[in-house]
């Protein structure tokens, strides 16, 4: 008799647990349905995606004009501050989302390295006044002694940096 009662108790506990589980499942499904109905009735995400798309496309439509103007304007401003014995050797501009990177090789005609560095430092300080330049660094001519190429071209300093276009 005792084993039978024992088994009945175990089975009753199981049945109660499964009954509660099924009740919870129904409640969860109702909550999910409620959420889906609310979301479907008011497509917030869809409206947000449409607005996001609007801003992205407007940015795209003005992007090419902004980039070409920014590049031409930068070269224009640069041309206003380059003075002998400084000369632009090479210039590369690579546009990005809201800025462009540049690499500028400047040749300084000078007999001595110190003299070239003095001229270059003056130019670099003027460039630092460009308010839209967010990053800038330069590398000194290497090797320290004039190489045959440098002898012909002067001391070549490389400035690389980033200009904000927004």
């Amino acid at each position: 008799m005792l084993p039978l009662i024992f088994f009945i108790i175990l089975a009753a506990v199981s049945a109660l647990l499964h009954f509660e589980k099924s009740r919870c499942q129904k409640r969860m499904l109702t909550a999910r349905q409620q959420f889906n109905l609310t979301a479907r009735a008011a497509p917030v995400e869809k409206a947000k995606a449409q607005r996001g798309w609007f801003y992205k496309i407007n940015y795209y439509l003005g992007y090419a004009w902004r980039n070409s103007y920014a590049a031409a304007d930068f070269v224009h401003r640069l041309s206003g501050i380059v003075r002998m014995p400084l000369q632009i050797f090479d210039l590369k501009i690579v546009p990005g989302w809201q800025n462009f990177r540049f690499e500028l090789a400047l040749a300084v005609a000078a007999d001595k390295r110190e003299q070239a560095r003095r001229v270059f430092t003056g130019f670099y300080q003027v460039m630092q006044d460009f308010t839209d330049i967010s990053q800038m660094a330069f590398s000194e001519p290497t090797p320290p002694d004039l190489t045959p190429g440098q002898a012909a071209n002067g001391f070549v300093f490389i400035i690389s940096g980033q200009v904000e276009t927004e």
Binding site: P3, L10, S14, L17, H18, C24, Q25, R27, M28, A31, Q34, F35, T38, A39, A42, V44, A47, K48, A49, Q50, R51, G52, W53, F54, Y55, K56, I57, N58, Y60, L61, G62, Y63, A64, W65, N67, S68, Y69, A71, A72, D73, V75, H76, L78, S79, G80, V82, R83, M84, Q87, I88, D90, L91, K92, I93, V94, P95, G96, W97, G149, N153
Partner: protein
């Protein structure tokens, strides 16, 4: 005898414990876990529904006026992407526009550099100023960086490299039209004012060319420039420059923060800085001191 009864009781207790453990391990514990998960999910959905309801009460949904703005924006996007039959038609439009622009900006020499197909070397350059011979200094300068030009055009042919791949790559244009994007190079020799005006103007015409790289050097008496651009267009025939539709999806989270307050209010076209064609201030000649490289 007593020992036998004792052992029987022990066996009974052990068997009961085993059955209890079996029930607990195989049925009760998984059921309790499932019960907890269901309660958690229910609570989560309940909270999300409440959050959504509160959000909806504050959200400005697009009205007819805003929908019209969206529709006009789409029209403007489509206008900016020329609709052509094939790659050759797009190239013809670009060549014609570049020729007009080169004449207007009074360039001394202008060459168009294109590849026959993605991954191929640059074909013979096309003179954009047919009445003027190609300047020697420009030809020499280009010859000095031929490998670099090939490499650049091959890199820019990959639309994955474009910052716009995530916005335009996933778009569909209806019918059989698909998006194609092609890089080109424009080599220019001109006095500085003309050259800078051309750099500024090259994105203005129908082709909507986007500068992806600009290089400048020095010729005999004037600056030289190599402008790499990318043009996108809608093409109906098969194209070697097609942008795969699956590339980039719809550009989620690319430029706009999905939680931005901006997305909660109706869009205001007047508040968006579109950027317009803008002329450079007057550029003086001979102030740009470019040094000729000794090769």
């Amino acid at each position: 005898m007593k020992l036998k009864v004792f052992f029987r009781k022990i066996v009974w207790i052990l068997a009961s414990l085993a059955v209890l453990l079996a029930f607990a391990g195989l049925d009760w514990l998984p059921a309790l876990k499932e019960l907890n998960r269901l309660k958690r999910d229910e609570r989560e959905y309940f909270l999300q529904t409440n959050r959504l309801k509160s959000l909806i009460s504050r959200f400005a949904f697009p009205d007819e006026k805003e929908k019209l703005i969206f529709s006009k924006t789409e029209d403007r996007l489509l206008e900016s992407l020329p609709r052509v039959a094939d790659d050759a038609s797009w190239l013809a439009i670009i060549v014609s526009a570049l020729r007009d622009r080169a004449k207007l900006d009074q360039l001394d020499s202008a060459l168009l550099l294109i590849q026959a197909g993605p991954g191929q070397p640059v074909a013979a350059p096309l003179n954009l100023l047919t009445r003027a011979p190609v300047a020697d200094d420009l030809q020499r300068w280009l010859a000095g960086q031929r490998q670099e030009t090939d490499r650049c055009l091959q890199t820019f042919a990959d639309f994955h490299q474009s910052p716009w791949h995530a916005v335009l790559g996933g778009m569909e244009f209806g019918g059989k039209r698909q998006l194609a994007c092609r890089p080109i190079g424009i080599a220019v020799a001109a006095k500085l004012p003309a050259l800078l005006h051309f750099v500024n103007h090259c994105s203005w015409f129908a082709g909507h060319l986007e500068i992806v790289q600009l290089r400048m050097g020095q010729g005999e008496t004037r600056p030289l420039a190599l402008i790499f651009c990318r043009g996108c267009y809608r093409v109906s025939a098969s194209s070697a420059w097609l942008v795969p539709v699956q590339v980039g999806g719809n550009g989620e989270n690319l430029l706009i923060d999905a939680d931005s307050d901006l997305l909660w209010q109706p869009v205001d076209p007047n508040a968006v800085s579109l950027g317009r064609e803008k002329e450079l201030p007057p550029v003086r000649d001979s102030v740009m001191l470019l040094k000729k490289r000794n090769y």
